[in-house]
């Protein structure tokens, strides 16, 4: 895979996207530099999830260019998109798991599909880090919302991706768990990972800004703008 231009891992250049002819994002430009921490906020339906999906190739922009690690998503083959997703950890809003597999197997799934040997110790360490060491044999439906969110985070980082995109990672959990998840993401950022979190939880953003230098982007009127100091 091509190595991207140093200084940016994901870049959106004049990107537009709409559903059924209805524009959702218009001429959005954005650069995520290595090790940066971004929040993406805005009202429900503003296009936060869509923007994240554009960033990992789940959607293709109707206009403009999306580059991930220096490669234009439009010119990527499906295999290249798959390879790119191994470098981008995604914590999905719906916490998608395979219910017939154990938690440990779900967390190890990115290793399994990439053909890398699954070290039991590696998975166990990760589950311990997210506080789920006692649930490794549980099936996803047996877990609480917070446990599933942490499991999704563990799965997103097991390949040691350069970027982590989290879509409403604290959407279904209480404040205490939200802060715990945020701390895990901040810790990852301190390890050098690029983080972008889509959330409408302004309290979470304020809490994060006390711990890490984060840029806050707001989607409004189909545009992405840098949020003001009121956050």
């Amino acid at each position: 895979m091509k190595t991207g231009e140093p200084g940016r891992v994901i870049e959106l250049d004049e990107v537009s996207y709409g559903y059924g002819g209805v524009p959702l994002l218009g001429n959005v430009s954005l650069k995520l530099t290595p090790g940066s921490f971004h929040f993406l906020t805005g009202p429900s339906g503003a296009g936060k999830t869509t923007l994240l999906k554009l960033c990992y190739g789940a959607l293709t922009a109707t206009q403009g260019r999306v580059e991930v690690f220096g490669q234009d998503v439009r010119t990527m083959s499906r295999d290249e998109v798959a390879m790119t997703r191994r470098r981008v950890g995604v914590v999905h809003q719906e916490q998608q798991f395979l219910d017939h597999l154990s938690l440990a197997e779900n967390v190890a799934l990115p290793l399994t599909v990439s053909g890398r040997p699954t070290e039991a110790g590696e998975v166990a360490d990760l589950l311990t880090w997210v506080g789920l060491s006692n649930q490794k044999a549980s099936r996803p439906p047996e877990l609480s919302g917070g446990e599933r969110q942490r499991a999704a985070l563990a799965r997103a980082i097991i390949m040691s991706p350069e970027v982590i995109l989290a879509d409403e990672p604290t959407g279904n959990v209480d404040w205490e768990m939200s802060i715990r998840l945020l701390q895990l993401l901040v810790e990852l950022n301190r390890m050098g990972k690029t983080i972008m979190i889509a959330t409408h939880d302004l309290n979470l953003i304020r809490s994060a800004k006390a711990q890490v230098q984060a840029r806050v982007l707001r989607i409004s009127n189909h545009q992405v703008q840098l949020a003001g100091a009121d956050l």
């Binding site: 190739g57 798959a82 390949m159």
Partner: protein, 300 residues
């Protein structure tokens, strides 16, 4: 990866990779049943095709070894022309035996149409001479020319007009057998495609998760392809076995049974049905792979 290790890997499988797709009970049973039923039918289509060719060849050979001369002449000249024909035949290379049919023989031939006690002497029935040929046969055109000179009332019937439609019918039957085999393969492919598509649709969420974590299409497809290939192989193996036993249990070939008792395999032909299971597996492999990759391409 070369084809042999790839085929071995397909059969051996990858325990971890196999687990990522949950078991699919209904489509599994459908695939095994359809493959078994189609393999069973394929055994019969193959037996029909082979038996048709074999029996037609036997009939063709039997007719080709014999011919008939019909002598029609005015009263008083018949015996002289019959004698002339016999003399010509005795000097013709390729004629093993020539026999003038007696009145009783001719009466027996005509009895099915005219009833018993036929007064042959009052009817203008031609005299018939039955010829048995040597394996090399005789020169038909040369014999006809000599008969025309020696016995103008003699007409040679070398059975060509009987053999040609028989050979055409046999060829057509063989073609029907092969078309049936092709239709069986196509139907198997269609059923397995439907079953695999149903399984893929039922596992849309699984596929979404696998794509999300970086699985390639070929990885996801392989999990489905392997299952359906092995099911196709197992079902076809079962159907072929039952079909071969059924053919084996059919009544043996005898002269009174005619065509139906000749339906089956002869000698090394018994090995041919053994090709059906691997061919069914190949059909299942191609059908599932095509269905899986087409379905996956529609997903982001």
């Amino acid at each position: 990866m070369s084809k042999l290790p790839a085929a071995f890997a397909l059969v051996a499988g990858d325990k971890q990779a196999d687990r990522v797709v949950p078991p699919t009970g209904f489509t599994a049973r459908l695939t095994i049943f359809a493959s078994a039923a189609m393999a069973f039918l394929a055994v019969f289509a193959l037996a029909l095709s082979l038996a048709t060719g074999r029996i037609a060849a036997q009939w063709d050979a039997a007719l080709a070894q014999s011919s008939t001369i019909r002598v029609s002449a005015p009263q008083g000249q018949v015996e002289a022309q019959v004698q002339a024909v016999i003399e010509v035949l005795s000097a013709t290379p390729g004629v093993a035996d020539a026999r003038v049919l007696s009145d009783d023989d001719q009466r027996a031939l005509l009895e099915p149409w005219f009833g018993p006690d036929l007064p042959l002497d009052t009817l203008p029935v031609p005299r018939l001479i039955a010829i048995t040929e040597t394996p090399d046969g005789y020169d038909t055109a040369g014999l006809r020319a000599r008969l025309a000179g020696e016995a103008p009332g003699a007409v040679l019937d070398d059975h060509t007009r009987w053999r040609e439609p028989l050979v055409r019918a046999a060829d057509r039957m063989r073609l029907f057998g092969l078309v049936s085999l092709a239709l069986i393969a196509a139907t198997t492919a269609a059923i397995i495609t439907l079953a695999a598509s149903a399984a893929l649709a039922a596992n849309a969420q699984v596929i979404g998760v696998l794509r999300l974590v970086g699985a390639r299409d070929t990885y996801i497809a392989r999990a489905f392809v392997r299952r359906y290939t092995l099911r196709g192989l197992a079902g076809a193996g079962l159907g072929t076995l039952v079909g071969m036993v059924a053919v084996w249990l059919m009544p043996g070939d005898d002269s009174t049974g005619g065509f139906l008792t000749g339906l089956g395999f002869a000698g090394p032909e018994w090995f041919l049905p053994l090709l059906i299971p691997p061919l069914a597996a190949a059909v299942a492999f191609l059908a599932t792979r095509r269905a899986a990759l087409a379905t996956l391409r529609e997903r982001p």
